[in-house]
Amino acid sequence: MADTGYSKLIKDGLWSNNQALVALLGLCPLLAVTNTAINGLGLGIATTLVLTLSNVTVSLIRNLVRPEVRLPVFVLVIASFVTAVELSMNAWFYGLYKVLGIFIPLIVTNCAIIGRAEAFASKNNLFRSAIDGLAMGAGFTFALVALGSLREIVGMGTLLSQAHLMFGEGARGLTLTLGEDFNGMLLAILPPGAFLGLGFMIALKNVIDGRAASRKVKVVLAEAQTS
């Protein structure tokens, strides 16, 4: 465990132990806000920020905190950071804050964050914890954006709508409209569409992993035969 390199940390966060697709943590925000790609990106960035800050802090205090009060302290740390991030978004990204609304405070309840604090940051040094937070956050953001894009395309026939909420008025032109007469499939925008979309994404990931695994087996077999 201790000698795993940074590349493994990053690979774990983005793919093999993706908090949304493999660990299935943080489903509440994942399913609720991903009706557009921009919403997913906004919440993903906020979550990454909180996750990295909390991982760093938990790692710094890991030798100070007694086991009895470990969890309350972690919760306190996370809740403080979430509120700080919420206030900052309200101040600097007002439009996006309005859209994401209740889901920013709900980052507190994202089990992925306390999960990483408990499982990783409380046992690893500062730098490794920071990398882990960034990688896990990036993986979560990737899942949010992918699901958001999927639902937006199928449901509304657009991509990156409301980009101006995040990147300023200049980004209005970023919105792609796919087909003028496409009114969208309502199902994709509604909550069931989130479950369906997530299901397809997990299935796709498993197919890719399965292919990779069977290829590896073939290579090993081939090597075994030649030697």
Binding site: E68, V73, V77, S88, A91, L190
Partner: protein, 212 residues
């Protein structure tokens, strides 16, 4: 150290509570002004879309009263922003709440001009079905702009319904409840204004203006 483990743990917890609270106090202090400015700016943007800035000469965002009328305005804390020019009433903007949206209350801004016509209506927040009921948003369809210039005489008060109910206002394909409830709420706001237009613009006593 090992003698009072609970005490140590409690102190640790208190220490973190204090530092967490300090972090929040600091962030709040850094952002409070900006957040207030954001909210004010967003409100001003909405208000000036309904009451043109050059038609009034007062600070409409600060010139408001709070009234209660659950039946006609949908709430106990309805703000009315008052636009004036040379101390004459120009328009009143109600933060009417529609209590019976399809999936929860809908918050509106309803601007009524001093001549009893509508300066316009905007939806501030709602939870209506995406793709169906959300056509009440100005970014999704022109429907909400149709209220501008209407009054209780145009169309006649008996025609203040959606077309399906025999009135003058369009409903949406697949969504009748949302427009129906909004038309009703706008009509009720106009009725309220008709009965109270004089008292609404009474020069605000200082104590009313200072209590939210």
């Amino acid at each position: 150290m090992t003698k009072y483990p609970v005490l140590i743990a409690g102190l640790l917890l208190a220490l973190f509570a204090v530092s967490g609270t300090s972090l929040l106090a600091f962030t709040y202090d850094q952002t409070a002004e900006r957040i207030a400015a954001n909210e004010r700016e967003a409100l001003l943007k909405n208000l000036s879309a309904l009451v043109p800035a050059d038609s009034i000469d007062n600070d409409i965002v600060s010139d408001f009263i709070t009234i209660a009328d659950k039946d006609r305005l949908g709430g106990e804390h309805i703000q009315v922003y008052r636009g004036r020019k040379a101390d004459q009433p120009v328009a009143a903007v109600f933060t009417t709440t529609v209590p019976d949206g399809y999936s929860g209350p809908i918050k509106l801004l309803v601007a009524v001009n001093a001549d009893y016509t509508l300066g316009g209506v905007r939806v501030i927040s709602h939870k209506e079905t995406p793709g169906l009921g959300d056509k009440i948003e100005e970014e999704r369809s022109d429907w909400i702009f149709g209220f501008k210039g209407k009054s209780l005489k145009n169309p006649d008060i008996s025609k203040w319904k959606v077309k399906r109910d025999g009135g003058d206002f369009d409903q949406f394909t697949g969504a009748t409840i949302t427009p129906r409830s909004i038309v009703q709420a706008v009509k009720n706001t106009l009725l309220y204004y008709k009965d109270n237009s004089r008292s609404l613009f009474a020069p605000a006593p200082v104590n009313v203006a200072s209590t939210q």
